[in-house]
């Protein structure tokens, strides 16, 4: 048991901090729309041009090939520098699609897609969930019929984040019509400009349109775009999800610590209705301190899990437990800030930069539902960590 960073780790941190100090964009990210997507591409391009893109990607595909611990250091420095949030329109490409193509893609897929993703040239979206499936991916119905050297896709996808900005989609379809549950699925790369695709944005309670329904009407996709094998899509999808649950949320976990310190600063300067500063209220102060303790413990959990994974080479089932801890803490922080800000918390027009705390409060539900709901994460914990009996 030790907390020692190597000299190389410390050197890496110093270089990252130095570079970020002068390169973090001075102007804030546009609230939404194509301008926000362009901002994300530009930031990814800048990381790429300066050799900081793809910290977890293998070196042979243009990444930095860093250990889990070095990735934690990178995300800590990003949070400290208040760099653009890493969960943005490049997230699916960087955290899912790229790693999945690296793990299961053909040489042609790798040479076409990987550098485009890494340089921010293309954005991706994820076509997994469906109107009647939710977190239960084995209930997928969108159909793919093989016709010569193409697969013809018909059906609908739901909750597709950033579909309107994406160039490509990781699409999971049922290619064996009589198949059930996890069998007969295929993971395929869908070019979003293919005829027959219709995108209908879904307005959320955040007053934005970050998710869409996507409809497919005889969409012809080359079989050469299949990642993994036809009918083996579940295995490819599990590889995709393990990237998300393993390391995809590190940035959020570490950023929470910075955010609670910002909330404490806010409580020091904000007056309550009775004229006292919010920090002078015992209830507010205790809640903020307890959330800060949770954030420090979340960092210890993250370091414990990452260094274990670095040693064994296999991500354990703790990702679900960390996501539960992080989403609960995120929500608690939003709630105490709501009390600190009083009436002004209710002023909101959907602009994330103008009303960050209110936006974060609304986002806390997105966070505890997307990527597997809290209930799904509890089921995974009950099965894989505690070994409780199953009903199904």
């Amino acid at each position: 048991m030790d907390l020692q960073y190597s000299d190389a780790d410390r050197d890496f941190r110093a270089r990252a901090r130095e570079w970020l100090k002068t390169n973090v964009p001075q102007h804030s990210r546009p609230a939404e729309g194509f301008a926000a997507a362009q901002f994300d591409r530009d930031w990814q391009r800048k990381l790429y041009d300066h050799g900081w893109a793809g910290v977890a990607w293998p070196k042979e595909y243009g990444g930095l090939g860093l250990s889990g611990l070095r990735q934690v250091i990178w995300y800590e420095e990003l949070a400290r520098a208040r760099a653009p949030h890493h969960i943005n329109t490049t997230y699916v490409a960087m955290m899912h699609a790229g790693p999945t193509v690296i793990a299961r893609g053909t040489d042609a897929q790798k040479s076409f897609h990987l550098h485009r993703i890494l340089s921010g040239e293309v954005l991706w979206c994820q076509g997994f969930s469906e109107p009647n499936a939710g977190s239960d991916l084995a209930a997928l119905k969108t159909r793919g019929v093989i016709d010569g050297d193409h697969i013809v896709v018909t059906g609908a996808k739901m909750w597709t984040t950033d579909a309107q900005y994406a160039d490509f989609q990781e699409l999971l379809i049922r290619t064996d019509p009589g198949s059930e549950r996890h069998k007969g699925l295929t993971w395929i790369i869908c070019d979003m400009k293919t005829p027959g695709i219709d995108i209908k944005p879904v307005r959320t309670m955040l007053q934005d349109e970050h998710v869409s329904m996507v409809f497919y009407d005889d969409v012809r996709i080359p079989i050469a775009n299949v990642v993994g094998e036809i009918g083996q899509g579940w295995s490819t999808a599990l590889a995709t999800l393990s990237f998300e649950r393993g390391l995809g949320f590190i940035g959020d976990q570490l950023e929470l610590y910075e955010r609670v310190n910002r909330a404490i600063e806010l409580a020091e300067k904000t007056r309550l209705e009775d004229g006292r500063r919010a920090i002078e209220d015992d209830g507010v102060a205790q809640r903020l301190a307890a959330i800060k303790a949770d954030c420090i413990a979340i960092r210890s959990m993250t370091l414990g899990d990452i260094t274990e994974t670095d040693r064994t080479g296999v991500p354990g089932p703790k990702g679900s437990m960390m996501k539960l801890m992080v989403t609960a803490t995120h929500k608690a922080l939003s709630e105490v800030v709501s009390d600190i800000l009083g009436w002004s918390f209710l002023e909101f027009d959907g602009d994330r930069s103008a009303h960050p705390w209110t936006y974060d409060y609304l986002w806390s539900w997105v966070f505890s539902i997307s990527g597997g709901t809290n209930e799904i994460q509890r089921e995974i914990t009950a099965d894989r960590v505690l070994g409780l009996p199953r009903a199904r």
Binding site: M1, L3, S300, L303, G304, E375, A391
Partner: protein
């Protein structure tokens, strides 16, 4: 960097677990008069060297670190070991006089813990203890209890006797150092983590065999989900305990912050997990014959030692952690 027990650390934890399950099993607390550590048991601990794990070899100890100290007290917590085991260990680390230290390490003299309560002190530990240890943030004091009147008080926690001491004599020894407090905080946090683990183990084992409405209760989401939440709280508290133990061992400048967080997370996990354990057991959970209430009552006592909620949260607001 590696944040879990490893190599020799695992062996020491296993040895401690085996020893404590045999010498001081939690089931002892179902017998009357079981609160006090007997002279025989104290000598047994002394013979095995458990009181001096973290005492330097040149002072008659094992020369191990805060990490092994934490691993040992996690096992003590799992068996609801009494607080005077912690007081005895801390006195062994704090005592300056070599002769006195040797007697404490060997378990020939008993040490109880003194905690300030208004003008008086609470004395927690076996009635035959002839030494009392009081620990504050920057200092520790060791008192002779030989001529000190101590009025017995009823104790909710069956694992410890409680007494009240109105006045104390001049201390035998007074040590100005943060180390005793740090080892005390770490030990108490570790005991609470052990309790939180024991509570989760009890309900998970039960959920695998007990059936209601024709199914194992562990297959109902009304049981599975609270169990998952228990596991999450425990994982957070245990990860922080390891971080704090390593921070003390390596004398990191932010060790005190990580100890405060570790004690807070351990308080929360132990209180919440012992609560959920009773609830999910149903009726059997509130019986005297079950161990569930022993864990809850012990957690209530330990959560007040070496940093209760108000003190810890008051300190944490302005705290800073290092890389």
């Amino acid at each position: 960097m590696y944040l879990a027990p490893d190599g020799d650390e695992v062996e020491i934890a296993d040895a401690a677990g085996t020893f404590l399950a045999d010498a001081m099993p939690i089931d002892r607390l179902h017998s009357p008069g079981s609160a006090d550590t007997t002279a025989t048991v104290r000598r047994l601990f002394g013979d095995m060297g458990w009181f001096a794990l973290a005492v330097p070899e040149c002072e008659g100890g094992s020369g191990l670190s805060a990490v092994e100290h934490a691993l040992f007290f996690r096992e003590v917590g799992r068996q609801c070991g009494p607080v005077d085991v912690l007081a005895q260990c801390l006195a062994a680390n704090a005592a300056i006089d070599g002769g006195l230290r040797g007697e404490i390490i060997a378990g020939r003299r008993g040490v109880a813990l003194l905690v300030a309560d208004g003008e008086a002190h609470r004395l927690i530990g076996s009635a035959d203890s002839d030494l009392g240890l009081s620990v504050e943030l920057g200092c520790a004091r060791l008192f002779s209890l030989a001529a000190v009147p101590a009025a017995p008080r009823p104790s909710l926690d069956p694992a410890n006797s409680l007494r009240i001491v109105e006045t104390l004599p001049a201390p035998l020894e007074s040590i100005d150092s943060e180390r005793t407090w740090q080892l005390g905080q770490l030990g108490a946090a570790a005991m609470l983590v052990g309790i939180a683990e024991a509570a989760l183990d009890l309900i998970v084992d039960y959920a695998k065999i007990r059936e209601t409405f024709g199914r194992k209760i562990g297959s109902w989401q009304a049981v599975r989900h609270p169990c998952a939440d228990m596991a999450v709280r425990l994982e957070a508290a245990r990860s922080q305990l390891w971080y704090a133990a390593a921070a003390v061992k390596e004398r990191r400048v932010d060790a005190a912050v990580h100890l405060d967080v570790a004690k807070h997370m351990a308080n929360v996990a132990a209180l919440a997990n012992t609560d959920a354990n009773i609830q999910l057991h149903g009726g059997i959970g509130v019986t005297d014959e079950h161990n569930a209430h022993l864990l809850m009552k012990h957690a209530l006592l330990l959560s007040r030692l070496f940093g209760a909620k108000r003190m810890l949260l008051g300190r944490l607001l302005d705290a800073r952690v290092e890389d």
